[in-house]
């Protein structure tokens, strides 16, 4: 066994020598592998960067958070009917469903009057009316100032918490706390600035303004009740299904839905969204794996081709080595190691290039920064080495089986 180790070390030494003796040719030989590995690493690093970021987002939300939204089936929608969740639904859930906390209503302001203005600057950012519990559910904490509290909500105070991006969009100079911004024509006093969260899918997550729920409701006018979203936290994760069922029954009763009709609302967990996302990432990775498999196969055939040429070219050398006492196994190992070494080098270069490309893509598109997971590194090296082994065996066997005297006579 130590004999084999010795042979592998010597084989690696001579492989390195012969690879670097023809540096440029070696590079071209392994180009297929380089491109294959680089493209997989580039895409994986971007997708994983995404995925890590999104997982973090969902983690922030908490896994036992439920989101209840209105849902209008397609048929009804065509008939002009719109399902709705109301403040009443919120109160029902808050006071009648046990085992939940931080029940939070949110209402979005839409439309042409949903603009924020400040000293002549205006911004159409996301305008959300919500309760003070919003910060716990979404882990959006104020970096400066404070979040609004129960009393702000009760007295319908005109106070606002700004996402950090608004500051630059509205060109707010100096300390923003205590200044006033106008939302659809009404003045709101800035009481807090939220922590920065960055971009997701190129979407700025810091471009929002949060207002107390009752204030927003009043602002929207009492003519028609707004459609709201209700988020809440389930205290015991094991009780999740019971809680969902409870909410479902309650809302169906509230909405007077008869047996047999569909729900006009949806209850989703953050986990479900995460699962869906994971599925997308998983299938993307699979498709990618297929493409890369093919490109590595092509790369491997390229390597086999060049190795075969190289064996022919070095026939005399092989003859000399055999005359000096190299066994078949010595020669086989030497060429096999050369092929594997070449592929691993290609894999390494591909890894570096791929990560570089991934980082560049992330930077240019404002996506979360690229990360290469350990499994991708192990896999690309494993694959590259495997390709070297598989496609190196034929040239290596050809070299090993050369007859010493024929090889020495080869011109």
């Amino acid at each position: 066994m130590s004999n084999l180790k010795f042979k592998i070390i010597e084989g690696t030494r001579s492989a390195a020598l012969s690879i670097f003796a023809h540096g440029f040719r070696s590079f071209l030989t392994t180009l297929g592998i380089i491109i294959g590995v680089a493209s997989v690493i580039a895409v994986v690093s971007v997708v994983q960067g995404f995925s890590a970021n999104i997982t973090q987002q969902f983690d922030g939300m908490g896994t036992n958070v439920l989101n209840v939204e209105s849902y209008t089936p397609r048929k009804e929608r065509l008939q002009g009917v719109r399902a709705k969740l109301t403040y009443d639904d919120y109160l029902e859930i808050k006071y009648r469903v046990p085992g939940v906390s931080n029940v939070t209503p949110t209402v979005r302001m839409w439309g042409s009057n949903a603009v924020i203005t400040y000293r002549g600057q205006s911004s159409s950012s996301m305008i959300v009316g919500t309760a003070s519990t919003y910060q716990k559910l979404n882990t959006v904490y104020p970096e400066r100032g404070r979040f609004f509290n129960l009393s702000d909500d009760k007295s319908r105070r005109r106070v606002a918490v700004l996402g950090p991006s608004i500051m630059s969009k509205l060109d707010i100079k100096g300390d923003p706390i205590g200044q006033h911004v106008a939302v659809s024509g009404e003045w709101f006093k800035v009481i807090g600035i939220a922590e920065k969260r960055g971009k997701l899918f190129g979407f700025d997550q810091d471009d929002f303004i949060l207002l107390p729920f009752s204030t927003t409701r009043a602002l929207l006018g009492g003519a028609e009740e707004p459609d709201i979203t209700i988020s809440l936290q389930v205290d015991e994760p094991s009780q999740l299904e019971q809680v969902k069922q409870h909410i479902k029954n309650l809302l169906r009763r509230n909405h007077k839905l008869s047996k047999g009709t569909d729900d006009d609302f949806e209850i989703a967990t953050a986990d479900q969204m995460l699962d869906t996302f994971d599925e997308i990432v998983g299938s993307t990775t699979l498709v990618l794996g297929g493409i890369v498999g093919i490109s590595l196969l092509v790369g491997g055939i390229g390597i086999m081709n060049i190795m075969l040429v190289s064996v022919t070219e070095r026939t005399r050398e092989i003859g000399i080595q055999k005359a000096l006492g190299a066994t078949r196994f010595d020669i086989l190992l030497q060429f096999l190691i050369e092929a594997v070494f070449l592929c691993l080098l290609g894999g390494l270069i591909g890894l570096i290039l791929g990560f570089g490309a991934g980082s560049l893509i992330s930077n240019l598109t404002g996506l979360p920064s690229a990360t290469v997971p350990a499994w991708a590194i192990v896999l690309s090296f494993g694959f590259s080495g495997g390709i070297g082994l598989i496609f190196g065996i034929i040239p290596a066997a050809k070299a090993a089986n050369l007859d010493p005297i024929d090889a020495l006579r080869y011109e």
Partner: protein, 244 residues
């Protein structure tokens, strides 16, 4: 004291098929080679000298006959054992040197020791010693095309000697060299012989054959004569000079 036999050839033949016709490059060779023999193989071109050397060096196998090396019938050995014999028992020197073109002189001489499983440090030491013995201690990092023909052949000799083989086989070792380099190489062979080395040298130069203590002559693949040189004392330098 009786002479110790290293090689026994009995009825050795090498048959080639050339199209439909058969052809004997060697035909019924019986030969014994003894320890510390210094033997020349002469004969006209195509007489089978190289064929014989390749068989002796286990680079090739006979089509008939028996070859015993140190008592072992070579025909019974597998490819790996033959490689072992080439590595341990044989030092082969070729007319065209056959150095590894990309390797330095030192690496060339170290090469056979790799197949013997000798560690780097010792390999290096032994290769340096062998190169020093042939007077190339200051050319170790040169690659073959940075060396003269004589220097290349001396690297090849160092490489053949570094494994301390039982026999040194040289197939027209000076065939590509000028006369003064030839003198140097032959002087080296004389020295090796007097140190106890067994040598077989193929040559077509009379002067070289006369340096050897035994001369065999081949003709059309047959052994024509096997003579002892009684007085191999003629100074080589004047001999070669006369030849030139």
């Amino acid at each position: 004291m009786s002479k110790q036999t290293i090689i026994e050839l009995r009825g050795i033949a090498k048959h080639y098929m050339m199209g439909s016709e058969g052809f004997y490059a060697l035909d019924g060779i019986d030969l014994d080679i003894y320890l510390n023999d210094y033997m020349a193989v002469v004969g006209s071109s195509g007489s089978g000298k190289s064929t014989l050397m390749n068989l002796l060096g286990c680079l090739d196998l006979p089509t008939a006959g028996e070859y015993k090396l140190k008592g072992t019938d070579v025909a019974t050995l597998d490819e790996t054992s033959l490689a072992g014999i080439r590595n341990r028992e044989i030092g082969f020197i070729f007319q065209n040197f056959n150095l590894l073109p990309r390797a330095t002189a030192l690496q060339n001489v170290m090469q056979p020791l790799i197949y013997r499983g000798i560690a780097l440090a010792e390999r290096k030491q032994r290769a340096q010693d062998a190169l020093a013995m042939v007077g190339l201690q200051d050319r170790m990092t040169h690659v073959p095309n940075q060396l003269s023909g004589g220097q290349r052949q001396r690297v090849a000799i160092a490489r053949a000697l570094v494994t301390e083989p039982a026999i040194l086989l040289a197939d027209e070792p000076t065939g590509n060299l000028d006369s003064s380099t030839t003198v140097e190489i032959m002087a080296l062979f004389d020295q090796l012989h007097s140190d106890g080395q067994t040598l077989i040298v193929v040559t077509h130069e009379q002067e070289i054959a006369e340096r050897c203590h035994r001369v065999i002559t081949l003709k059309d693949g047959r052994l024509m004569s096997d003579q002892a040189n009684k007085v191999p004392v003629k100074p080589l330098v004047s001999g070669v000079a006369a030849h030139v």
